[in-house]
Amino acid sequence: MMRKTVLSVALGIAIMAPSAVMAQEVPPAAESGEAPGDAQVDRDAPVDWDREFGVVRKTRDPVTGEIPVDPYVQSDANAGASPFTGEGMARAFGGQPGIRRVVDRFVELNTTDPRIKAIFGEHDMVRLRRTLFEQFCLILNAGCHYTGRDMKSSHKGLGSTRADLNALVENLQQAMRENGVGFAAQNRFLSKLAPMDADVSERGEKRLLGKRR
């Protein structure tokens, strides 16, 4: 459905940082939990978090404004769905300008939605807006090629769930509704995206029995 645009995900930061920070901010608790013989760390020294987390800084391309990603094979097949035939769906979305409005609003809603904005937090929204537009435009048969990565690798490491996916669908429905796409056409478009769920949501069902993921 949506694609993450930076190869190595900074998701780890979102996950790990709070607890690491917590450990720093409550030295008494940390201290009491340590065995007397442990190596002493100078807690007053500023922590180089980039080094702690193995952070590598990447520079945006001065022309496109995008952060470079590792090379991959480009193909329309990466879009994960076959395009509609005929012009009906492209017309329902108002052609390429309409699709662009839907995509921009969709990205805006996702990045401000308290339920899922953390997933987008450290990602390249410039690239996302471009590749998402290409994907929607291709599937809606509005005359584009898709140059992004496939659904599985573009969502790798996001740790997203069915609940996140549903929130995303609601945002897409809102973006389409606000841009005058009729409900039947909205659902037709969603029918192309819905089968991708296994590739875009990483954490599946919480098991009733046995080891939990």
Binding site: I15, M16, S19, G33, F53, H123, D124, K206
Partner: protein
């Protein structure tokens, strides 16, 4: 911002475990976001409404949906009240359900069937009420209502144990037992390309009039295979219309039993409430034919 951060995950994971151990005393790694017990995150209307037996579904048919608004990493709960007005009878039912990980549904429903004037005519007394408790479980085996391949519907098996509370009376009218258990197998899919929901259910049952007149009879005493089907069209995120048909056994010699059908409108004005209105035709009940009327249901779900 001209830069972005990427991270070495192994080091971070080590740090996380250590920090967790020291600060919280729990060495277990945690997922990206803590899973909420009640995530209230299903798409609107995809939890269905509540069938007459208390299982999630349409009004008459038990679908392969799981009750409540919890998704596959959470728990959902649901409660409903249903009222049906028929020419000669009144129906009121209510119940609660819990859906675990969008996989297992456990539900309880109570049915109260008011015989009004018919009660006097049958010698039961004016306004005599038949009561029934139903305990149900449903397990989704495979597939999904919305996601996954279009050709793979959500498939579920269910068991509904019904305990009629008027044993002496239902035996007097010819039923063999006051208790019975239905077994269901259902497949449901929302075909987004057409905005159409299709459900088909097979049910093994002995119930006379859903069990309100007991189980089994002089004409037929064993389980028989019955079917129920639903066809619905989604008009918007919040509104769907449709129809259902449900075959029923005809076990009792003293009163013919007919199939049932309904035509419904389901509306979710807010995400936790579904209001259902329906036209219902259940045919003949205890020799009083032409029982067509209206159904209203309120369902709260989280």
């Amino acid at each position: 911002m001209a830069t972005i951060l990427t991270t070495g995950r192994r080091r971070a994971a080590t740090r996380w475990s250590l920090a967790g151990l020291l600060a919280l005393g729990t060495p277990l790694a945690s997922p990206a976001q803590a899973d909420e017990t009640f995530d209230d995150a299903k798409l609107l209307l995809t939890n269905g409404v509540t069938s007459v037996e208390g299982a999630s579904g349409g009004g008459l048919a038990s679908w392969s949906t799981i009750a409540g608004r919890g998704t596959e990493r959470a728990i959902g709960v649901s409660a409903h009240v249903t009222a049906i007005a028929l020419p000669d009878y009144g129906w009121q039912s209510h119940g609660v359900s819990v859906g675990i990980h969008d996989r297992l549904e456990l539900s309880y429903a109570r049915q109260n069937f008011d015989t009004r004037k018919v009660g006097a005519a049958l010698g039961l007394g004016h306004g005599f009420k038949f009561n029934q408790d139903i305990f149900s479980a449903k397990l989704r085996l495979a597939g999904d209502l919305v996601y996954g391949p279009q050709w793979l519907p959500a498939i579920a098996v269910g068991v509904q144990h019904k305990r009629n509370l008027d044993g002496a009376i239902v035996r007097a009218v010819g039923a063999r037992s006051a208790q019975g258990t239905d077994f269901t197998l259902s497949a449901s899919k929302l075909f987004l390309s057409r905005s159409v929901l299709v459900n088909a259910t097979a049910r093994l049952t002995k119930a006379n009039q859903f069990g309100l007149l007991g189980f089994g009879g002089d004409k037929h005493g064993k389980h028989s295979l019955q079917v129920e089907g639903t066809l619905a069209y989604q008009l918007s995120r919040r509104l769907a219309v449709g129809g259902e048909y449900r075959t029923k056994p005809d076990n009792l010699g003293i009163a013919r039993e007919d199939d049932a059908l309904d035509m419904f409108v389901a509306w979710a004005p807010v995400r936790n409430l579904t209001v259902t209105g329906a036209y219902v035709d259940v045919g003949s009940i205890a020799t009083f034919g032409g029982q067509r009327g209206g159904l209203v249901q309120l369902q709260l779900a989280f």
